[in-house]
Amino acid sequence: MASTIRVRATASGEITEVQALIQHPMDSGYIKDAKGDLIPPHFIQQLTFEHDGKNVFLADWGPAVSKDPYVKFSFKGGKKGDDLKISWVDNKGASDTTTAKIG
């Protein structure tokens, strides 16, 4: 199965711009299914971006982050070809990790 994480990291000079899209339902716990039962909350709680052994970005998310969440940020110090490690963990304990190359 393909990774749930899509990343685009582009270095331009000193700055690396990172965009990530993650496949996740981000159920809020307020929506009912077809039968009228509430779908229990299911959402990513933490998302981290690691470069060169250091966290460069950490997101704490609640259920108000949209389905298939997207985030964009920029950091200094990344170079083309460097690894960027992305991990998430959700409220049910599920997680995923991927490593992307900075382009």
Binding site: Y30, F57, A59, G62, V65
Partner: protein, 164 residues
């Protein structure tokens, strides 16, 4: 905690817009030493803050203090969200020593939507997509030098993001 380099804010904004090399050289002169070291990497998920109903309680649970409005916190959000399920919101700041950026949606069932830790070397700028239950204020908080600064914008929602 004010900016010591006159050209700094403009320079940074240019970078964010993907401008050219002139701006990059400008950034190279930044005094990195001013920025406090990033706290431990194993940061705890602020469960309690996400459980609060209103924005004031959530800010208090998250930071233990209140924010003052500042024009150095910039927020880009639509006037009318095309759909409450996906509202693009970005926040950036011209403040120094930014350590976190937090976004709250005042009248969502739980106001706190997302909080981002900004370690040393990461730019104080983030874009994401949030759900909004109805027309309400979106509040952006920037933590810089241990203080909280905020800006607020109302976003109209015609199709709520909490419906079926």
């Amino acid at each position: 905690m004010t900016t010591t380099h006159d050209g700094f804010p403009a320079t940074r904004r240019l970078i964010l817009k993907g401008a050219g090399t002139v701006a990059l050289i400008g950034l190279g002169n930044l005094p990195f030493s001013l920025v406090p070291a990033f706290a431990a990497a194993n940061d705890k998920y602020p469960e309690d803050a996400f459980k609060q109903k209103g924005d004031a309680d959530a800010i208090k649970a998250l930071y233990g203090k209140t924010a003052e409005p500042s024009d150095k916190v910039k927020m880009d959000a639509p006037e009318i969200a095309e759909n409450g399920a996906v509202v693009p919101i970005s926040v950036s700041s011209t403040l120094d020593n930014v350590t976190s950026i937090t976004i709250l949606v005042a009248e969502n069932p739980n106001a706190l939507a997302a909080s981002y830790r900004i370690p040393e070397g990461t730019l104080p700028s983030v874009a994401n997509r949030l759900k909004m239950a109805k027309t309400t204020n979106v509040i952006a908080i920037v933590e810089a030098g241990g203080k909280l600064y905020s800006t607020t914008k109302e976003v109209k929602v015609t199709v709520g993001g909490c419906g079926g």
